[in-house]
């Protein structure tokens, strides 16, 4: 597929809008932001694209097929439905990727909710050193450095990455359940 990129002069007609979006979703290798749809479709209104995406999403939902359209990490993408993972896995001959250890998950949770955060601040919350968990999370690109904190020693600040959103199927950070939702659980 090395053909010339579609140039901006092509504009999708109203009738083409939804099917064209579907086609783009099909070829996109990563979540496609609404803005990019607009650009490729020749300056279509963002609202129209969003509406068409929502419609498509509904259609896929109602059809109850093997695919669905979801909004993830600031973009939209196709994915297979979780319930068919065994067949897909069998076909692709893949094994599920290594799970994160519990310390890593806990550290990641702290970073996700408290970002940007330094290592000493994470230690304060978890009561335990997190350096190896941090290393794992950096290697797996789930967290990134976010500059330095202007305090003594200028410690490095950490935050979550786009990869984090993709890995956990989140639209954006506000898609995380509120910390207050865990309050009830904490009483139990």
């Amino acid at each position: 597929m090395q053909e010339a990129e579609p140039d901006g002069e092509i504009t999708a007609t109203r009738a083409e809008l939804k099917p064209a979006i579907e086609a783009l979703l099909f070829v996109a290798e990563e979540p496609l932001p609404v803005k990019q749809f607009c650009k490729v479709l020749g300056g279509v209104d963002e609202g129209e694209v969003t509406a068409a995406l929502a419609e498509l999403q509904n259609e896929y939902e109602e059809r109850g097929g093997g695919l669905d359209i979801r909004e993830i990490a600031g973009g939209w993408r196709f994915s297979t439905r979780a319930q068919f993972h065994e067949f897909v896995r069998k076909y692709l001959k893949t094994r599920p990727s290594a799970r994160l250890s519990l310390p890593a998950l806990e550290t990641l949770a702290v970073i996700a909710y408290k970002q940007p955060i330094t290592i000493p601040e994470i230690l304060e919350i978890r009561g335990v050193t997190s350096s190896s968990a941090i290393k794992t999370l950096l290697e797996r690109r789930l967290i990134v450095t976010k500059g330095r904190k202007e305090t003594v020693g200028r410690p490095m600040l950490y935050g979550t990455s786009k990869e984090f959103l993709i890995h956990f199927g989140l639209r954006d950070l506000s898609d995380l359940p509120s910390m207050e939702d865990f309050a009830d659980l904490a009483q139990g």
Binding site: M1, Q2, E5, F26, V27, E29, E30, R77, F78, S79, T80, R81, A82, Q83, H85, V88, L92, P96, S97, R99, L100, S101, L102, P103, L105, E106, L108, A109, V110, A112, Y113, I125, R126, G127, V128, T129, S132, A133, L138, E139, R141, V144, T145, S161, K162, E163, I166, H167, F168, G169, L170, P177, M179, F182, A183, L185, A186
Partner: protein
Amino acid sequence: MRQHQKKNPTDSGSALADHFEPNEEARRDDYQVRLDIFEGPLDLLLYLIKKEEIDIYDIPIARITEQYLDHLRLMEELDIAVAGDFLVVAATLIYIKSKMLLPPDPTLTGEMDLTEDPRAELVERLLEYQKFKSAANMLYSRGEIEAACYTRGALETDTNNPEVAATVFDLLRVFREILERQQSAAEMEIERDEMTIGEKLAQIRALIAQGGEIIVREVFELAGSKRDLILTFLAFLELVKEGEILLIQQRLFGEIVARKRIAPAEAPVLGS
């Protein structure tokens, strides 16, 4: 850090309570498990509070401290490094215990100081920590579900792959092919233009900037001399090293394409 993974920390926690035997050997085995289970001192404290069915807002500090220290003693025998973080909380517990035994400092005048529960800060930390534990569980289940949803594989090229898809050997192969061709053809060449590596880099950058990507072989073919060829080769290596371009191959021994690397804005190169 051990990678032993368990699905439900609370389940394993309670199951573990039954493991406690006075038998020394059983105890030792136990600890292998324990270190995996308690993520830290706060986790251990929470476990003790749950096990004893204690109201977290009214912790019998003396009892909990004693139990905590019992666990610590055993852990210390086996893994001092882990106990390090645990000692900090042990010190806090002992401090709170002593503070509760002593009458309030009469020299302190503020009313707040007289009424404040010395346990309050610890309780707050425990509650906060517990929320993060729940958050970690939430991430775990989300990750599991997400891992079961597959997205379509990449097309012929994979821009998401941070690694160089074509190896230096592939580049070398192209280089040699061109060099061989050049040797048979360029006999009446007068070496005049002495291009520098800097100019070559600029030339390649410009070529890539024009079309977004370029076929490596074509760049080599532009070279007029062997020196130029070598410069081109070095320039490609440099650009890859600096992370400016990606070399991508659509299939084994296929055409190598050089493409401008779009650095993910949110993911700076580690260690930089």
